[in-house]
């Protein structure tokens, strides 16, 4: 078991955004997370990556309780993440974005980080943009950069937050191809996505969240056939 989330809860004031959620992810698996807007999906990521601390419950990663660790410590432990709204280091070049991640997330020496960064730029199709300021990239390339930078931290677990959102059909297909390759290399992933067919093409399991609670979890087909999920997520009558 690479990641175990046990009875995690989080409130902002009186608003409970995550209620008693538990799930786990096996090494090499891809877990897809679905849920309506405001269901608490991104909060769940923040709780795993450490951007937000849990009020109750625990997050165990690779056998270690990481609930009290800061985000940079969790990153170094092997949890890499991308943000729904890309957060590039806008004044730095694309290459430098990755070098930073490789130096500090993967704890490489600078020279090793150069090689790693160039390699990942090549793989993710960003090599032609290597020396551009990250702030000047198009949306697709910013999303690619989010992914590439997270990869440069050499994560064991990759958290992807709506990385296909806002992309055209064709761009989303490119992204899925890329993710499939990353998955084939053995990286464990959790992917929050509204583009259901993209998610279905790669996820081994699905988790559906509604009002901060776990609504369903299991094999993708079984979950999508679940009457509660159809009602809540797709507005369909069962």
């Amino acid at each position: 078991m690479l990641l175990r989330v046990d009875n995690v809860s989080k409130s902002y004031g009186t608003l409970k955004v995550t209620r008693d959620v538990s799930f786990s992810v096996e090494e090499g698996q891809t877990l897809g997370i679905l849920g309506p807007n405001g269901a608490g999906k991104t909060t769940l990521f923040n709780l795993i990556s450490g951007d937000v601390r849990v009020d109750a419950g625990s997050v165990t990663f690779a056998g270690q309780d990481v609930s009290a660790l800061r985000p940079h410590q969790r990153c170094r432990a092997g949890i890499g993440r991308s943000y729904q709204v890309p957060h590039p280091f806008g004044n730095m070049t694309v290459f430098e974005n990755l070098v930073t991640a490789a130096c500090f997330g993967a704890r490489l020496s600078e020279r090793q980080a150069w090689d790693t960064a160039a390699e990942i730029l090549d793989k993710t199709g960003l090599l032609p943009h290597a020396n551009k300021p990250a702030g000047s990239l198009t949306l697709l390339n910013r999303k690619r950069l989010e992914l590439a930078r997270a990869l440069a931290t050499k994560p064991k677990l990759l958290l992807l937050d709506e990385i296909a959102g806002g992309l055209t059909e064709h761009e989303a297909a490119e992204l899925v191809a890329e993710l499939k390759r990353i998955k084939a290399e053995g990286t464990t992933m959790i992917w929050i996505e509204h583009v259901v067919h993209a998610l279905m093409s790669i996820a081994d399991r699905l988790l559906v969240i509604n009002f901060g609670e776990k609504l369903a979890e299991g094999e993708p087909e079984a979950v999508m056939g679940n009457p509660d999920v159809r009602r809540v997520y797709m507005g369909l009558e069962a």
Binding site: H72, F89, N97, F104, E119, K123, L127, A177
Partner: protein, 352 residues
Amino acid sequence: MSATVIRSTRASQATIGIGAALCVVAATLPFWGESSWMREFVEIACYLIFAMMWNLLAGYGGMVSVGQQAFFGLGGYVMLSLGNFLGFNPFLAIPLAALVSALAALPVSRLAFRLQGGYFSIGTWVIAEVFRLSIANVSAVGGGSGTSLTALRGISRATREHTTYWVALGCVVAAIALVYLFLRSKQGLALQAIRDSEVAAESQGVGVARMKLAVYVVAAFGCGMAGALYFVSNLRISPDAAFGMNWTAFAIFIVMIGGIGRIEGPLIGAVVFWALNKFFSDYGTWYQMGLGLLAIAMTLFFREGLGGFLQRRPGFEMLPTRRILKLDVQPATPVPAHTPAAPSQLMPKVSL
């Protein structure tokens, strides 16, 4: 794949060459220049070092402190006390005073770092006022009316002026070199990442809190050094002069004009400030209002400052911290993901 990275530009090689030559010429100034030039240099050197530190803090670390005069004044008073009371050579007391300022920054940071954004700014200002009022109550250093640096008596005026000038030159060169080398290093990468996005930096493994503390302490060291240097040259210190808000105000002006969050910013800004000060300071209040208006105009219409204007022209960076990946390497693996499939593959051939 083995990456080749370029870290200098033609402009940067020229800058370093010209800079080194200028330093050599500058070092000989006491033998041919006037003493007023040396005094002017020392003063602008203090402003420059102070502004460089403020740029590190605010431009890179996102810590908009308006209370750096706390460390400037402290540096001045520590240098004076070491000289007057403990018999230290004031010139040798400058690095010690800087060190004391850096140490003082540790407990101060515990207090200031509890505050965020605008509260942090006001908090640092309040802390500087506490420093000023505390020192004003110490009668040994003359209380509110201040005191003179007596430790340099007995040294001839020429020797004092020359030594002060050389020390100032040394401090400026050291400060520029240290900031430059730091920003080019791996740690500099982390600091630039923090400048661009704190949240993302933290999630990419950068220990943001620790880096900010380090920057705060280094900035206090630099400000303390500038303060000690200024009052070695000035020979007289008072709480109002040492802990005056205008130190930070001028530093902000210098950085804004030159370009915040850029290494060249304070250098360019200090030259502009020196020129404006030289030609317009006789206009008194009008001059200061002009400076204010200029700063407002810059922040509204020309945010990148003069440094940013130059940097947008590739190869014009004087002190580049960038890492340019050499792209003549052939991609190691074909990238099928973003090469559109040939039409023949999409449309099955139909034979009739």
